[in-house]
Amino acid sequence: MREKINNIYENIGLPRIIIISFFVFMLIISAPLGLSVPNLLGDAIRRWAMYGILVLAMVPAVQCGIGLNFGISLGIVGGLLGSTLAIELEIANPLISIMVAMLIGIAISSLLGIGYGLLLNKVKGSEMTVSTYVGFSVIAFMNMVWLSLPFKNGELIWPIGQQGMRNTISLNSSFGEVFNNFLDFHIGDEVTGLHIPTGLILFFLFTCFIVYIFMRSKAGIAMSAAGANPVFTQASGINVNKMRVLGTAVSTALASVGIITYAQSYGFLQLYNAPLMMGFHSVAAVLIGGASVKRAKISHVIIGTFLFQGILAVALPVVNKLMPEGNLSDVIRIIISNGIILYALSKTKGGNR
């Protein structure tokens, strides 16, 4: 019996136990504090589906052997470029607009992803370190690009000076909340009830399903094998490097879809330094779900994102009730997300060598 409990404990891991109990604790104390639990849950669900695809981008990356992909900023940048182009084109129909944004985003980020994958093939063994700084530099580089892109649409550029894009771009006139409002409904009251953004959830699950099918396809299985045991895979006639590039490109493309989904749900497009740490949050979420540096499954994504975003969604109002000043939830997010990454790193490397 004891061994069994120990086994379960080992499998779940201390940080996850802490996080789950923290989440449950927050939910329990939210009701006596006078907060609407359905409201909180609704928020948690919305954020879960909103961030889900960005986290999903970790799966192909981890499975193909490049480890935790801190460099999804590349994909994010591709997605942002796609969105801004779609807004510049002033497509009236929101659904077509978001599709155009995604297509352009996927195209750009796949190309970037292939180049990025080729780079990562050269730096085997320290992909994570390199990818973090490649991600940072891409964001810093794009800062300059955002300032100098020759867009003309008034929604995009600063009204004064006519040069440089705005920090946050409203999506009201293009594809803001197009998925969220698709077939959405309330359980209970309009104000205090549980809001279900059906379209958003469906889209998230649909993307998960596509990735699932991809991972089960011939290419997907070959990719996973390349990540799990490169030497053996090479011996059985599969080009490991090619598989790693494939995984990186898919991961980057997913990130671009992810940021567009995120932006449409948020209602704004955030440029410049806003996506700087998004890679870290996605990594943290998939690790909370139970993934490791070597292995990630779609279930990890679904569970991890819900826990991570759930805590943030629930903790913010609860903490604000308890401590009106400051933003403790932001501090909690920093501690949790980086703590779990550290934990995962310490689990995989080491020894006395």
């Binding site: 780079l119 800062n143 980086n338």
Partner: protein, 489 residues
């Protein structure tokens, strides 16, 4: 001739990063149109401000732990101390020394913990250090925003947010710690040095007399006499007036530096040729250096250079601290500990086989680096004069590492020289980039983004180059090299 060509190509290949940035800096200075005196003045302030921090990165590189992104944690230790010192109302150099006294144990503890953690993830220290920096930042925010005032009762209108919980965004150091180290006058330094020398000499004499070791005391007495004479000289009014200042005109600094360099070379020639009678010793190198020194002194009469030299004042004490750290880094290499670190850095397997406690050596390296980074942050804060509570430490690792890499250092090798060159180039770019952006593209923001991009980009490229090289190199070769090194040690 062929040999010369090869050497030349080699030189270019090894210094390509530095040369690229030299060109970039010259271009940016030219484009910005800033007067050279302004750039130089800013630059020397920034060297004093950031030099120490960059030099604190060298020890972990030696120990094979790569670029220490964890220096953020040293900075955090410094900031905790600074907050309390300001809160308790200490001022000036005594306040600064107290903050050193308080921050050092905290930094030692933090460094020990970081070292422990890094030992659990060997080979992934850099990514771990980055994440650890963010993680520590979270804990730091928790401490400063909620625990101070929330749990630890602290009441001070100037420091605490009006609600009574949490520390304000910025703490003004003017009037307490600002320039506390920079303004220590040379006279005071000489005085302190005098007392230290006298104390050591007397202690030595008494020790030798009491223990009856039989060592001659003549040498100690000579040292004592020299110290007293030197101290007496400072009472001559003109000398006293010169030393009473805390800033040194760059011209004097350069002159003194060149004279010391020339004297050192002369001493070397005398020592090797006349005292040791070493016939093998080639006097070519020292003589070349003496000529270079004389030529450099001649350059100070060139008009534009002279202008700069008369314009810039450097804070003596701060610069001496930086020089002392350079010396310390060099001395460490000659000790057993330094050699152990180098062996561990080259191959942990070989080090382990040679009986070196790898984990312990690595922890010591981290403790040293964290403590030095902590002092570096104290120097930075006292110079900049405003303590941005939640921002001062966040970019520390990024910028220090970028500066080091711009100087031509890599993940495995970094020297004092590279650190100093790096600080100069990186900060020159930092000073002129916004203005250059404005002049070239009519947009100062672009220049600012460009310098951030340089900081990130240079780290990314350098990390990639490092991983690329180590990926190609066969493993056996590396070990063999390390073995040779450890045998030498």
């Amino acid at each position: 001739m062929d040999n010369f060509k090869n050497k030349f190509l080699n030189f270019i290949n090894e210094n390509k990063v530095v040369m690229l940035f030299v060109v970039l800096c010259i271009g940016a200075i030219y484009a910005s149109g800033n007067p050279l005196t302004f750039v130089a003045g800013e630059l020397f302030t920034r060297i004093g401000r950031n030099g120490f921090m960059v030099l604190s990165l060298l020890i972990p590189v030696l120990a094979g732990m790569g670029l220490n992104f964890g220096i953020t944690i040293g900075a955090i230790a410094a900031q905790i101390a600074v907050f309390w010192i300001v809160y308790w109302g200490f001022e000036g150099i005594s306040g600064f020394l107290l903050s050193v006294l308080m921050a050092t144990p905290i930094a030692i503890l933090f460094g020990y913990l970081v070292g422990k953690l890094f030992n659990k993830m060997k080979g992934a220290e850099m990514i771990a250090g980055m994440v650890l920096g963010y993680f520590a930042d979270g804990l730091y925010q928790l401490f400063f925003l909620y625990i101070i005032g929330g749990i630890i009762p602290v009441s001070n209108e100037r420091l605490i947010i009006s609600g009574g919980i949490g520390v304000k965004n910025t703490i003004d150091l003017a009037g307490n710690l600002k320039y506390s180290l920079d303004t220590v006058s040379m006279l005071k330094l000489v005085e302190i040095l005098f007392y230290v020398v006298v104390a050591v000499a007397i202690f030595k004499i008494i020790f030798n007399k009491v223990k009856k070791t039989g060592t001659s005391i003549v040498k100690d007495i000579i040292i004592l006499a020299v110290a007293i004479v030197a101290y007496a000289i400072t009472f001559i009014p003109s000398v006293e007036a010169f030393l009473a200042s805390d800033r040194l005109l760059l011209l004097y600094a350069v002159t003194i530096g060149l004279v010391i360099m020339a004297l050192l070379q002369v001493w070397r020639i005398i020592n090797n040729r006349l005292i040791k009678k070493d016939k093998e010793y080639s006097i070519r190198k020292p003589i070349v250096l003496i000529i270079v020194a004389i030529a450099a002194y001649g350059l100070t009469y060139v008009k534009p250079i002279e202008e700069i030299l008369f314009f810039v004042n450097i804070p003596v004490t701060t610069y001496l601290c930086i020089v002392a750290l350079c010396v310390f880094n060099n001395m460490l290499l000659k000790t057993r500990l330094g050699q152990n670190m180098r062996t561990v850095g080259q191959s942990r397997v070989v080090a382990n086989a040679a009986g070196i406690d790898v984990d312990r050596t690595r922890i010591i390296a981290m403790v040293l680096s964290t403590v030095l980074a902590c002092w570096g942050q104290l120097i930075y804060l006292q110079n900049i004069g405003t303590f941005s509570t939640y921002g001062a430490h966040t970019q520390v690792g990024q910028f220090a590492i970028a500066a080091l890499l711009v100087g031509g250092a890599s993940v495995q090798k970094a020297t004092n020289k590279q650190a100093i060159i790096g600080v100069i180039l990186f900060h020159t770019l930092f000073i002129v980039a916004p203005q250059a952006g404005k002049e070239l593209f009519n947009n100062a923001q672009l220049g600012e983004y460009f310098r951030v991009f340089v900081a990130y980009g240079v780290i990314a490229v350098s990390l990639a180059m490092h991983a690329w090289k180590t990926g190609i190199k066969p493993i056996g070769k590396d070990n063999k090299h390390a073995k040779l090194e450890s045998q030498k040690a």
